[in-house]
Amino acid sequence: MTTGSAPADAGIPPTSAAAPVRLEVADLEIRIGRSGPDVVSDISFAVPAGNVLGLVGESGSGKTTVALALLGHTRRGLRISSGEVRLDGVDLLGLGNAELRAARGARVAYVPQDPAAALNPTLRVGTQLKEALRVHPGAVDDPAGRVLEVMAEARLDTTPEMLRRYPHQLSGGQQQRVGLAMAFCCRPSLIVLDEPTTGLDVTTQRHILDTVRSLCRSYGVAAVYVSHDLAVVGGLVAEVAVMYAGRIVEIGPTAKVFGEPVHPYTRGLLAAVPSPGRAETLAGIEGQPPRPGRRGRGCSFAPRCPYVISECRSEAPEPVLIDARQVRCIRTADVRATTAARTAAVREPTGDGSSPALSVRGISALYGRTPVLSGVELDVPPEWCVAVVGESGSGKTTLARCIIGLHPNWTGEITFQGARLAPRVRDRPKDTLRRIQYIFQNPYTSLNPRKTIGQIVAQPLDELVGLPFRERSERAARALEDVSLGGDFLSRYPDQLSGGERQRVAIARALVVEPDLLICDEVTSALDVSVQAVIVEELRRLQRERHLAMLFITHNLALVRSIAQHAVVLRDGVVVESGPVAQVLEHPTDAYTARLMADVPRL
């Protein structure tokens, strides 16, 4: 990838081969400070008019850093040290500040991840759109007409009421459409989209993606779509670049890269993505990517790579052209010789399911005065994993909090092992508190930053079991071993751990008291997909070994398939469907479930 023209040879699909190249990035390198280590390096790709390039990678891979550099911008402390970003033949990085400002918005536009934060809350939608046009006079002839035109193209209502609304009066999907309209209104040549659908539910996400695709096609815009979600990218883009530790490790047509991945990292990522259509064990990637400045001489992926040989550690691999895509790996021949096998998950529930461990009958809950749950019924038999699925706002987290006693404002009946549960934690006996354990969504807030991992894991033994000090320490160490964390973690603090390690600590803390029921609330949504796979497999193994009943709450339908035996679909606080996972996901009887399944992006 030493010349900017290389990707053009790398086989852009025939439909777009004739289209002129709009964006060309050559040898882009970004460093920390004056002489610090590189954050990203050797970035070269080209995007023809009307095409979308997907830039995928896990957190810390440098994908957002590259995306911002396409606008000539770097975050504080970073510096573009070399390379070119040519847009229609003009190098943006060579422009002065004034020229660059004029180009931003007019010729290069950016759609950020969180539209709620990107729109000015004090400006009406119409004013905000007009402002974008006023900043670049001459970009279009008729600003007022252009606003209505671009709103229609972004599939927003063009009514005067819509123009008068404030951002907070719009739904998340509408906000992101306004973001898209703002980006497209000056008819730019390049659009950079930074995870624009993260945080939207699957149906809204699909509609936004359709809009992006059609806008790019009809305007002949080159677009770069940054995402950590491989399934989303797979359905949207013709060409994809996979980033790891600041390098593009594989770039080429999406069908090739995702269909027959050659780089071991791409393979690993794809194996970690759960599929809604098949029940499979997920293969995660152990370890974590090296930080800038801690990347060795050799291949950055070598420490985590199953195909690693000694040469990998000593020499950085140069990109090679294989089967229409460029790959940064010296082991491609051997990687291609092995086929990535996916193993079906063995998911026979061991309990007989006759007397449920947990039984929820007619639960209705209020949040303030707003009803969030009405008449929810649910059973979790011993040793079963029951998934509660729903979009944001469906009430699934409230349901979990009712069960554990954090949300006491409910009516109905919850019985656990035959005994009724009191609504409040403080009215429940300690032994009941011990038997039901809860794992929070975000491991970055669920561990006290001022305590050691040893203290954190041993704590429930003090509160709930009342063990003497020595025994607590021993059991904490054993619990950490059970989640594959060594004894040296005992004395560490949470901020010294990665997200995946933190979530393992949270799991160890829940399991150290030997509960009978484990409630997992979106436990993987804050984690990268490769880590998610590791955590899910860890949970599945522990559930089997410890004979746990499990309530798995998630918005991710694909994940349900891999872990649960039984699924309950929640919508607006009502159970719309419930049954064995395969039946619910494959033959949904409820229209809502069917639509959810249809909108899930698939690889």
């Binding site: 920390i32 400070g33 610090g36 954050v39 957190s59 810390g60 440098g62 850093t65 975050r75 504080r76 402390g77 970073l78 930080r291 800038p292 554990i404 006693g405 954090l406 934690v425 403080r426 429940r428 300690k430 508190l433 809860y438 929070f440 969504q441 975000n442 970055y444 807030t445 669920s446 561990l447 006290n448 930053p449 001022r450 305590k451 050691t452 040893g454 203290q455 041993a458 704590q459 429930p460 003090d462 509160e463 709930l464 000090f469 607590r472 320490s473 904490a476 160490a477 040296d488 005992l490 004395s491 560490r492 603090y493 901020d495 010294q496 997200g499 803390r509």
Partner: protein, 312 residues
């Protein structure tokens, strides 16, 4: 905390100690390395040193009548004499420690009471919150000095009373700040985790929440110490602190101001020492606040920890 903690092998403990075990220590260390922090701490330590070793190196007794009133500086009396003809240098060297001890005690009292009130208000919410914060509002409505004067003038100028009066007058402002900091911490999931274990509220506040308030507490302590010094000196100046013939910087300013034109050093030196001390503590506090807020980090460091999401 030591009882509940699994014992850690010493070698490993040492490794992580500076990072998180004593977060206040690492913050202080970073603050001292900034120019602002070094200057502030230097000034404050200079004055503290004068106050502590002063009594041992003073050339004369602070109470001895040496010469005429308001004598100009001479070889025997480097800073001249005061309104009774006592050695100004010896009185300056003796007059600091009482001020410092009282200011420190009042600060400690104010921080402890204020933090306890702020944490309970924020954690318990509801009626306790309303009661505590409305009380705070009422006390805050009085100017701090007037509040202290009121107590002292009603109950008499006893030193322990002054410490309590000044300490309590700090508590409301501390409670305000700590309450809002606690609200942030209480929202985090690790607090819910221990609630789900049925932990008693007092223990949740002391063992889970308090350790996460160290940064705002340090900043508050520095700020309140500065105010304490000013108020203590002010009370002494007004005659409500230590009583004559005690040597006290605030008192000295008052006693000697009539002779300002005859021997200005008797006023200037104690005033300058008080000024240096407050400027020093305030500057150092500012440095600590900047460190805890991350204002003074090098951009490279900020890039690594914030932007790349690696330092979470």
């Amino acid at each position: 905390m030591a009882v509940a903690a699994p014992r850690v092998p010493p070698a490993q403990a040492r490794e992580t100690q500076a990072v998180a075990r004593h977060p206040w220590l690492s913050v202080l260390r970073t603050a001292v390395r900034t120019p602002r922090g070094a200057v502030g701490l230097g000034l404050a330590l200079l004055v503290v040193l004068v106050a502590i070793i002063g009594p041992f190196v003073a050339p004369h007794s602070p109470d001895a009548l040496m010469t005429l009133t308001f004598a100009k500086p001479s070889g025997n009396l480097p800073l001249g004499s005061d309104f009774l003809g006592r050695d100004v240098l010896s009185r300056v060297l003796n007059g600091g420690w009482a001020l410092l001890v009282m200011a420190a005690a009042a600060t400690a009292l104010g921080i402890v009471v204020g933090a306890a009130a702020g944490i309970s208000a924020a954690y318990r919410r509801g009626r306790a919150d309303g009661f505590i914060m409305r009380t705070v509002d009422v006390i805050l409505a009085f100017p701090q000095l007037v509040f202290a004067l009121l107590l002292v003038s009603v109950l008499g100028p006893r030193l322990w009373l002054i410490v309590i009066a000044v300490g309590l007058s700090h508590a409301p402002a501390v409670a305000r700040v700590i309450r809002s900091a606690t609200l942030d911490v209480t929202e985090r999931d690790f607090v819910k985790v221990v609630e789900l274990q049925g932990m008693r509220p007092a223990k949740v506040m002391a063992k889970e929440i308090l350790p996460n308030l160290i940064s705002p507490l340090m900043v508050e302590a520095g700020l309140r110490l500065t105010y304490s010094i000013v108020i203590m000196a002010g009370l002494s100046f007004l005659g409500f602190g230590q009583q004559p013939p005690a040597a006290n910087w605030g008192l000295m300013i008052n006693e000697n101001r009539i002779g300002l034109q005859l021997n200005p050093w008797a006023v200037i030196v104690p005033a300058a020492l008080i000024a240096l001390l407050t400027i020093g503590t305030n500057t150092f506090t500012d440095a600590v606040a900047r460190v805890t807020l991350g204002v003074d980090r090098r951009p490279e460091e900020a890039a690594l920890t914030d932007d790349l999401g690696l330092g979470r």
